[in-house]
Each structure stands twice: as structure tokens, then as C-alpha cells.
Symmetry: C2
Subunit: 411 residues, 2 copies
């Protein structure tokens, strides 16, 4: 049954790939209007998921993420309208030239085809991901978590209705209703139908996909992010950034997990941070030198590799910039890394040498986000180097095609 | 032992990634000069491989590909000099803007890190691949075929000497001397050290890599390329392109394997082609309608899926453009596809609807090549959609990094 869906998805992708932007935008407008006109239906279907979550004893935080109230429906409508307002990446001529033999070569952005997305609880991802795919001429195959299945089915139905009204194939958006893990395996093997897989989720999902996929992946892996407070840091700024990067929101991938402090300023800044973190009840785990200055739990080797996603922070005192860079390149997840410094040479050296999707001077790692970067919505944040790196928007859902105009050239 | 090499390679990649272009170019100049000054050594080492090939009974064609004579050494030197003359892709600012909150965001091309390359007999690939990697600031780990091992070791040694002279880490170029297939498996699992794997070879190698790799791949897969002769084709041009695409060189991936002919011109053009192909002793395998016009072996379903790499051609008569496009999208390998037509609408429709790396109007598929496209040397031709598609040059050996300049921004 999944195979039938995927076959139809592949068929639809050939139709969708050459559709004009104005038609795709009309479909997005129809999606926004359906969301607005179907609020009661959406909330009723969502209520079933909430009820299930409560009966299944899901945590308050998990249940909160599931809720679709009017405010969240408004946010989904805004996202669809923002995606609609973006420039269609498809058709952009990336390069073009005439060769000595007269061949006129253009390299043009085209849709990837069929995009498979695996995600967890938040049902608004269904709308964001499908809308980004539609904007960029891609068919989406969405496999959300079972906690949100009623909401997802409802949103999928509304999008299919909008496609139908616009004269686009309904198979351009697909919701997989079977929430068994076996379906993920089936998706990963369906290389004849799916062009790219985007797994969004915890480490075990990413590992599973990496080991079993026959389809190229864009991974949205862990975020083990660092802030390095240099000896030349403005101390107030260092405290402010270190607190924001850890405490503004702990459960997300661009949150700092390890703080690195230059030996020369450790005894000055660590007591200030100890006090600031105490207000948020952050558990501190420090290296030996840290523990000589402030009170904290001993950090183990394992701590440097851990994404806590919680009010826990590991702290290491380092001997200088290169020591900090080496630690980050060894233990980081190539997501977001920041230095706090007033020293020009150190700032450039950090930006040059740290191997990560986003490297900052004097700013919180929390900014790494498609919206904050001005890409509109994002389908996730890539922590791999192939294809795209960092927040992934509509533009990253394209590949290229050489269109070559000849006049009988033979070799 | 492989692990030690890979560890050193990863270390070297951190050093190489921020090296200036003029230093990398100096190393490339040193490589070119070493090749020129070591002709006798190269030929002596190559003679061992040729001797082995003869004693092992390798085919004449295979043995020919192994040979490094003065002409081929000249060609390697030219390739290195051309790569040196290219613009360094690293450091190119792809995008840049200031956000409302004052963050100044730039998106910059950076090296991938460590590139693993698996290839077969031709030893000049060792030089091309290593030089392209060096130009783009990447460390290369090269695993060539056992038939060329003495030549490859010698070329690797010369490159390491050139790196050392220039003050770059010798571990920037690595030749794996163990030619056992088990080493390929070890490479595919070494995700902590290798950032991207580029397998170049037959279908079984690609399948093996797809199934086992934990590292993102850029595949250089089969080429099942088509030429479609439309009802509006210039018949002479149709014959010339169809003959060139099949016969100019049969053993390569951009050679045509299936010819599609519009029903309306089949009885006119097929006899001309039959005669032309007879001169090259091409075995023709035709669909039922083809066999009513010219004499040939019946083509089976399997023929449409086969990359012959030989003087064999399958021929199908189709009912029109859409029929041709559907056949190509179903059976093609998304490599190179060409239409011969004088009809404007059909030419654009073909370019729009065929899903392949390179789509041509009125030209031979044989043009798909990094050199012919003006990219300088190529590391291969990608038949996948992720990361890069078509001929892969130095530019495709980069990823991006967001460099973000703040002034204390917190979220």
C-alpha cells in the first residue's frame, strides 16, 4: 500500500516539476484559506490527539507541542503565506555560457522530485514541510509521529483539497497514516520513488536512517554547540551570551551544551556565571580547573559528547583559542559555535578554523534558524556537509539540470 | 593501519581548510614539476603494472588504460596546470546580508574536509582527483585498483614530496596501498574521518557502497543515455548524432544505449541508420515496430535497462514526444539525454520534462564531460540529485559555512 502511494507520488513529481510559479502559489493561497476556514475541524481532530496524549500519560511539554489552537493555526497560515511570498527557486539560471564548439550551456535549478520527511510530534511541521516542498515543485511524503496522527491526517486532507481545487495532482502531498517504525524502513529502501530523505528527530532515528537508507539523506542531527569566552572578551557580554545560549530554551538543537572559558579570565567570569545559572537551576559539570573556581559536579569525557537538551551545562577551562577550536572540532556536532572576544585576530581565526554550519562572533548560538536567517520557514537544520548545511529552506530543495542547446554538434 | 592514515588525514584537513590559494597553487606547481622531472621513475613503476597485467591476462583495452607513456604524463601535467589556473572556489561569498537585529551574516564556500575516492584502473585519475581536492582545500584518500598499484604509489609519493616542499602536510594526499575489497568496507564505515565518499566504478561497486556506507556518497553510476529522433528532426543530423552518440567511444557512461525514433519518421531514418551502424558492426536490438522496418534481434524489457558499454544498441519506435519522455524517465539513469528536432515547442518540452543531469537539443550525449563543459578536470559525473549533478569539478568539492558577525546579540 505504501508502494502505491509512492508510485503515485513519483508520477505526480514529473507533472509538478514543470509547473509555473503562479500555479504553485495559487495552491499555497488555497492551503492558507482552507486552514482559515477549517479551524473548527482542525481543532476537533486535534482534540483526539490531545486526549490520546493525556490517556497515554505523555509529559506536559510533549502534550503542549501537539496543541493546535487558534494562535497556532494563525502561525501556520502566516508560514504558508510567507513561503508563498518567497521567490520560486525553480528555473533560476545558476550559470550559463557558450562553449567554443557553439553549444549553449545553461545550468538551471530544478526540483529534487519526491522528498520523504520523517518527523516527530509537532503537527505544524506537516504544513511547513509540505508548503516548502510545493513551493519548490517537490512532492512531499510525510511521516509524522503517532501522537499527532489525527491532526496530520486532517491537515493532509485540507492540502489535498487545495491542490485539487487548483488543478494540481492530489498526490503532490502525501501523509503516511501507518505510524509503525517498519514504515520508516520501507521508505528508506524505496529508492525508485523517493529522491531524498529528510529525517528530523533524535539520535536513534538518525542512526537508524544512516545505517539502512538506500536514499541520499539530509540529516538533522544533534546539536552539541559551544560558546568560547576568550581572554579578550567583554565580560558582561560573555555572561549575557553564555546565559542566553543555555537558558533561553533548553530543548532545542542550537542551545549551548558546553561552555569553554579562557584560563586568563576563568576566575573572574566563572563566579558571575555560577550566580546567573543558579537563577535557572542549571546543573553545572566542570573540568578540574573549573571546579577549583566554582562548585560543580565533575565533568567526564562523556559530558563533552552529550547533548543534554536540559538545564545542564558542562564547562571547561582552556589554555587559549587553539585549545578551544580543537575541543570544538573534536566534540562538537558541526552545528553552531560562538566566540566572545574583542580581539580581531582571534575572531577571524575562530571563524576560519571551526568546522561547523554556523560560526559566530559575539552572538548567541540560539540564532541559527531559517526564520532568523531570513530564509522563511525551514525544513530543518542540516548538520551534514553534503548538499546543504545549516537551516534548509525552499532553495535547498532543488538540484540542477544542464539544459544544452546545440545545432548538430558531434564529438 | 587504515585508521591511523585516516586520523592523520582528518588532522591535516583542519590545517588545509584555511590555507591560502597561493600556497595551494604553489603545491600544484610543484606536483607538475615533479611529474615532469620523474618521467623515468614513473615509467619504470608503471612497467611493473603493465607486466602484471600481461601475466594476469588482462584484456588489451584494460592494459591500454594502464599505460603511462610520455604523452599521458604530458596530459597529467596539463591537467594539474589547468586545475592550478582555475579560481579557488574556497572563500567565495555565496550570500551575505545584515539582519534587522544587526547580525551580519555571510555564507561562504569552505572545503568538505576529507574526500574518499574509490576508482578503477586508470592511474591518471590519481593525479586528477588529488589535484582537484588540493585546489579546493580538501584532503584526498585514494583507493585505486590493484592493477595500477605501483603507478599509483609512485604518483602518490611524488605528490607527497611536492606537499612537503611547499610546507603543506604530506597527509593531504593519501594512497591506500591495500587493494583488498575489505578496505572499501572500512572506508565506508569511517564516518568520523571521511566527510564524503566518491565511488567511481561499475554497478556492483555502487550498489555495495550504497548499501554499506555510513558516509554521504556522491555516486558516479551507470549511464543509460538516450537519443530521441523527433518527427520534426533534420534526418541527416539525426543520423549523424545517433551514430556519434553510439560509436565515437562505446565504453563510457555518456554513450547512447537506447535510440528512440518517432513513428512518423521511423521508416525513413531506420534504414539509413542500419547502414551506418553496420560500418561499426553495431548489434541492433529492436522493438516490434523497429523489426518491421529493419533486421535486428528482438529487444527485451531487460534491454531498456542495460548499459551495454559495447557495440550494441537497443531501438524503440515511439508514438511521440511524451512517449519518449516517459520511456526515458522510466528506464534512463538520469545522466545525458538528447532530442533531435527542429520543432521549438518540442525542444523546450523535452528540456523541461526529462529528469536528467544533462538534457540536449540537437547535440550528441557524448559532450557530457567536465572538460567539455569548461570545468577543467572532473572527479567524476554525478548521477544523483543531492549535492551536485553532472560533471563534478573543484567547485563541487566544497560545502558552505555561515560566518556571522555580532555585537552581543542574544535571543
Amino acid at each position: 500500500m505504501l508502494e502505491n502511494m509512492l508510485k503515485a507520488a513519483k508520477e505526480a513529481s514529473y507533472e509538478l516539476m514543470s509547473k509555473r510559479s503562479d500555479i504553485k502559489d495559487k495552491a499555497l493561497a488555497a492551503v492558507a484559506s482552507k486552514l482559515d476556514n477549517s479551524r473548527e475541524l482542525i481543532k476537533a481532530e486535534n482534540a483526539k490527539d490531545i486526549e490520546y496524549a493525556k490517556s497515554a500519560g505523555l509529559s506536559q511539554a510533549m502534550t503542549d507541542r501537539l496543541i493546535l489552537d487558534d494562535k497556532r493555526i494563525d502561525a501556520m497560515i502566516t508560514a504558508v503565506n510567507e513561503i508563498k511570498a518567497q521567490t520560486d527557486p525553480v528555473g533560476k539560471v545558476v550559470e550559463g555560457y557558450r562553449r567554443p564548439n557553439g553549444l549553449y550551456i545553461t545550468k538551471v535549478k530544478v526540483p529534487l522530485g519526491v522528498v520523504g520527511i520523517i518527523f516527530e510530534s509537532r503537527p505544524n511541521v506537516t504544513i511547513d514541510a509540505a508548503a516548502l516542498c510545493l513551493k519548490s515543485g517537490n512532492v512531499s511524503v510525510l511521516r509524522g509521529g503517532k501522537e499527532a496522527i489525527n491532526s496530520n491526517k486532517c491537515l493532509g486532507r485540507l492540502m489535498k483539497d487545495a491542490l485539487k481545487e487548483t488543478g494540481l495532482p492530489e498526490a503532490a502531498v502525501n501523509i503516511i497514516e501507518d505510524t509503525d517504525r517498519a514504515v520508516v524502513m520501507e521508505m528508506l529502501k524505496a529508492k525508485d520513488y523517493i529522491d531524498i530523505m529528510v529525517p528530523r528527530g533524535g539520535a536513534s532515528l538518525i542512526k537508524f536512517c544512516t545505517e539502512h537508507s538506500l536514499i541520499p539523506l539530509v540529516k538533522h542531527d544533534a546539536g552539541i554547540c559551544h560558546v568560547f569566552i576568550d581572554e579578550w572578551a567583554d565580560i558582561d557580554m560573555g555572561v549575557s551570551i553564555a546565559v542566553n545560549a543555555k537558558c533561553q530554551r533548553v530543548g532545542v538543537c542550537n542551545t549551548m551544551e558546553t561552555l569553554l572559558v579562557h584560563n586568563a579570565v576563568a576566575s573572574k567570569i566563572l563566579p558571575l556565571l555560577e550566580k546567573a545559572y543558579a537563577e535557572y537551576n542549571v546543573e553545572l559539570r566542570g573540568c578540574e580547573r573549573t571546579r577549583k573556581i566554582i562548585k560543580c559536579v565533575p565533568a567526564t569525557e562523556e559530558d563533552w559528547r552529550t547533548e543534554y537538551l536540559d538545564y545542564i551545562l558542562s564547562i571547561k577551562v582552556v589554555d587559549g583559542l587553539d585549545d578551544a577550536v580543537n575541543h570544538i572540532n573534536k566534540y562538537g556536532s558541526q552545528h553552531s559555535e560562538s566566540i566572545v572576544t574583542e580581539n580581531y585576530t582571534n575572531s577571524e581565526r575562530f571563524l576560519d578554523r571551526v568546522d561547523a554550519a554556523a560560526v559566530y562572533v559575539n552572538a548567541s548560538t540560539r540564532w541559527t534558524d531559517g526564520g532568523e536567517f531570513g530564509l522563511g520557514a525551514e525544513i530543518g537544520i542540516s548538520t551534514q556537509k553534503l548538499h546543504c548545511r545549516g537551516p534548509m529552506g525552499a532553495d535547498d530543495l532543488t538540484t540542477t539540470k544542464y539544459r544544452i542547446y546545440g545545432s548538430g554538434q558531434i564529438k
